[in-house]
């Protein structure tokens, strides 16, 4: 351990990068070495496990979606993986809620699907990387989109880095937090509210040819458009809560995100002010009574 302490943190990261991306045995034999994003991506691809996958083999899409395999079930939608026109694809199917009145239900579900597609288009126009949408079926409320290859969630990466327990995990994660802050700034400057910012919805993509990971945002199902600083502040608050509860002792890391956000956003002052206000009073709490 004494030797490791003498190495500069940047050298340790560089060494693990140089060891080669395909060598997953490195992480197990060198417990104090921080894994790179590429290593985590490959580790997950090999074992077929990730917080995004939730278990590789699920029940197939059977009658409704031949060739697609269910891999996640949420409150609003089911996610399937398959191939579409030769490309690896994720199918997001919004299902009807039986407790709703059928006509209202149909309208609501279609509206949500439409809204998601619209916001993804808007986000891309602003320069936010998102999965590419290939096809939207408004009859069945299905969105067929790009299955991100060579990617992992920032959640999985932060967990992996922290579990190694090395002292320089901050150094390894800081550049990524920086990138996240920048993307969020661009998003909010485009008046886009994500609505469900968590580290599971912030992906890190890095293929063989890239030198750095790229931040990709997913799941715009609860997104909206708003110029209000309050809405943007709440968006960040949601991320802060999710961040700190999922990843213990990461206050300094989250501060990097906010610092980067402030640096890259043209309208950050009011947003941060609102964030502070929301932190004090909590969300959806009126000071009445």
């Amino acid at each position: 351990m004494a030797d490791k302490m003498e190495d500069s943190p940047s050298l340790a990261v560089q060494q693990s990068r140089e060891r080669g991306s395909g060598d997953s045995s490195v992480s197990s034999s060198n417990m104090a070495e921080i894994p790179t994003v590429v290593q985590i991506i490959e580790r997950q691809a090999a074992s077929g496990e990730s917080s995004a996958a939730g278990g590789g083999t699920g029940p197939p899409g059977s009658l409704h979606h031949p060739g697609f395999v269910l891999f996640k079930q949420g409150a609003e939608a089911r996610l399937y993986r398959g191939t579409f026109l030769g490309r690896p694809t994720v199918l997001k199917e919004r299902f009807s809620k039986k407790y709703r009145h059928p006509r209202l239900d149909e309208k609501l579900t279609t509206k949500r699907t439409q809204g998601e597609a619209r916001t993804v288009a808007r986000a891309r126009k602003a320069g936010i990387p998102t999965p590419c949408i290939y096809f939207v079926n408004y009859q069945s409320n299905c969105i067929y989109m790009e299955d991100l290859r060579c990617a992992t969630t920032s959640r999985d990466y932060i967990v992996a880095v922290q579990s190694v327990g090395a002292g320089d995990s901050f150094r390894a994660l800081q550049p990524i937090m920086d990138k996240i802050g920048k993307i969020l700034a661009t998003m909010h400057d485009g008046d886009i509210i994500h609505g469900d910012l968590t580290t599971s919805n912030i992906m890190l993509k890095q293929d063989a040819s890239a030198t750095d990971p790229e931040v990709v945002l997913i799941d715009f199902g609860l997104s909206s458009v708003s110029q209000l600083a309050e809405d943007k502040g709440v968006d960040l608050y949601v991320l802060e809560k999710a961040f700190l509860s999922t990843h213990p002792n990461t206050e300094t890391l989250f501060r990097v995100i906010l610092k980067s956000y402030t640096k890259h956003s043209r309208k950050s002052k009011d947003v941060i002010k609102k964030l502070d206000e929301v932190r004090l009073r909590g969300r959806k709490r009126t000071m009445v009574g």
């Binding site: 026109l85 439409q114 288009a121 290939y134």
Partner: protein, 175 residues
């Protein structure tokens, strides 16, 4: 030279794509499309980034055709309309359909041409040379595509050009 695929969502539909270079009788081809002699989508190859983009347009056209919710009259017209960023059908045909030029490259899309008969008929009419579909990448006019779709620099950086265009196509009617 001819590439055939089945649509995953509509397995009863086979799509064939053939690329013709140096076509000299564009006006004649257009007449034959309008009078129904040619039943195919004849696309201005310069405006296409990648065959995947065409398949996406075909998939949507077939989808709407099955629901009888096409905006245009034929599934082939619908393919051209889907390729276009706007909602003006005539403009789509003008930009993405066969041009009035002396020489042009066209991508022909046929549906369910299992015996190859339709392709034979089309080849007899079109005065041009069949070239491999891979050549499409060399023919594409990126600047024109970027200009027509009004793709900003920021959006261009999100991914490959074909992905930017495909996403636009897929979300066109989302409002």
């Amino acid at each position: 030279m001819e590439v055939s695929t089945t649509l995953d969502l509509y397995p009863d539909t086979t799509v064939s794509m053939v690329l013709f270079s140096g076509v000299t009788n564009g006006s004649e081809v257009r007449k034959k499309i309008m009078d129904g002699t040619i039943e195919a989508a004849v696309i201005n190859a310069q405006m296409i980034c990648d065959p995947f983009q065409v398949l996406v347009a075909v998939n949507k056209a077939v989808h709407l055709d099955k629901l009888d919710k096409k905006k245009t009259k034929t599934v082939f017209g619908e393919i051209l309309f889907n390729l276009s960023p706007g909602n003006n059908i005539l403009a789509a045909y003008q930009k993405f359909g066969v041009q009035d030029a002396e020489r042009q490259d066209v991508l022909v899309v046929l549906l369910n041409d299992l015996q190859g008969q339709q392709l034979q008929q089309v080849s007899n009419i079109i005065q041009g040379t069949r070239i491999p579909l891979e050549s499409l990448r060399d023919i594409r006019d990126e600047q024109q595509i970027i200009k027509l779709f009004k793709i900003s620099e920021a959006e261009r950086r999100v991914g490959r050009l074909e992905d930017v265009v495909v996403c636009r196509m897929a979300t066109k009617d989302a409002g």
